[in-house]
């Protein structure tokens, strides 16, 4: 296995409406995206919406912790909810921390995606979330777009996309 940096983006403006990786090569086995995000939405914790190839048809099943209670939720209809981030009402200079994993992103099946994400805050409320996502398209993923659920992505948020290449060493037995 090897990991290759495809692109790193840092928000230098005060905020941006979205962050997009496009023209993603189809030569890797999997993709991994790590992101450190602060939303401009005036809440403690906001949500990041995921859109692939310009469509919003990503559905989720999620396990959530708020710092005081746990829950599980779903959202259909292509809402694109994909993870939690720190909002504008969280402690200043504090960002969320999340990883998206896109296995077999260049395959011809529908795409299942997993994310682990957390918001942070110097108070009781801060979220941890595990998401299982489904993009019901068989196309190769060549564009990944992230937006905030209700506002913008704040300054100094960062996004790093890696390509994961399967190795050929060792022995694998299938029986």
């Amino acid at each position: 296995m090897s990991m290759t940096l495809i692109e790193h983006i840092e928000v230098t403006a005060a905020s941006v409406a979205s962050v997009e990786f496009d023209l993603i090569p189809d030569t890797y086995t999997d993709l991994m995206l790590v992101a450190s995000i602060r939303s401009t939405y005036a809440v403690t914790t906001s949500n990041v919406l995921l859109s692939l190839n310009g469509t919003g048809s990503v559905t989720r099943r999620a396990l959530l912790g708020s710092g005081s209670s746990a829950s599980s939720t779903t959202s259909g209809g292509g809402s694109g909810y994909s993870g939690v981030v720190s909002g504008a009402n969280s402690t200043s200079n504090t960002f969320g921390n999340m990883t998206y994993y896109f296995p077999n992103y260049a395959g011809s099946n529908q795409k299942s995606i997993s994310t682990d994400s957390v918001s942070e805050n110097n108070a009781t409320e801060a979220y941890q979330a595990i998401h299982a996502l489904l993009w019901s398209e068989s196309s190769v993923i060549d564009t990944i777009t992230l937006t905030d659920m209700s506002a913008n992505i704040g300054q100094y948020s960062s996004f790093t996309l890696y390509g994961i290449t399967a190795g050929s060493d060792g022995t694998t037995t299938v029986s």
Binding site: S36, S68, N93
Partner: protein, 196 residues
């Protein structure tokens, strides 16, 4: 895959390649490197990765620490590891989402002297160690407090997704991981990985 020699192929076999790759796949160096690894040969209270800014600040964007650990406590199967940055004992807060095999809960640890980064075992069978993976994003960005996300678990006990923030924007120059009140056991492994 066998490596083809450009020299041998062109000179000795009279085969012409338009590319200097001579039919080989282009080599792409990995963007993920093991920067340091500590496997304990004697029990130790704290493991510290230090001089991070000067050693890695210009080459790596993110850190990941992977570990498989236990400690010398003999009374409790479920233990907590503590993480501190830059030897600072202020300004941390931890939150967690946890399952114990039958129910799920979420809570916080408001103690500000350390981040509670992982659960692991103490008194379980001596050959059992507990894994964790900690992601530390943008550790050198002085515009940000540092947020850490950790997945860890103890066999037969709990699994937990934790996060903690270090509420200080200084660059992370050292990372210390301490076993609560006792020592990390012999064989505990801590690996620092850099992501470009």
């Amino acid at each position: 895959m066998a490596i083809k020699s450009f020299t041998r192929s062109t000179i000795e076999n009279n085969i012409f390649y338009r590319s200097m790759l001579a039919g080989n796949t282009a080599f792409e160096p990995s963007s993920e490197d093991i920067l340091a690894e500590e496997v304990l040969t004697s029990a130790a209270a704290t493991v510290t990765f230090s001089s991070l800014v000067s050693s890695y600040g210009s080459d790596y964007q993110h850190f990941q620490i992977r570990g498989v650990v236990r400690d010398t406590n003999t009374s409790f199967a479920l233990r907590n590891g503590l993480m501190q940055f830059n030897s600072d004992t202020t300004s941390y807060r931890t939150h967690l989402l946890e399952g114990n095999g039958s129910s799920v809960s979420s809570s916080e640890i408001a103690t500000s002297t350390s981040g509670y980064f992982a659960i692991y075992t103490g008194s379980a069978t001596t050959t059992i160690f507990s894994p964790f993976v900690a992601d530390i994003l943008d550790p050198f960005d002085t515009n940000k407090n540092t947020t850490v996300r950790v997945l860890s678990g103890v066999a037969g006990s709990n699994i937990v997704l934790r996060s903690f923030a270090y509420f200080d924007t200084q660059a992370i120059d050292s990372i210390s991981m301490t076993a609560t009140g006792v020592s990390w056991s012999i064989g505990s492994r801590f690996t620092l990985i850099g992501l470009k």
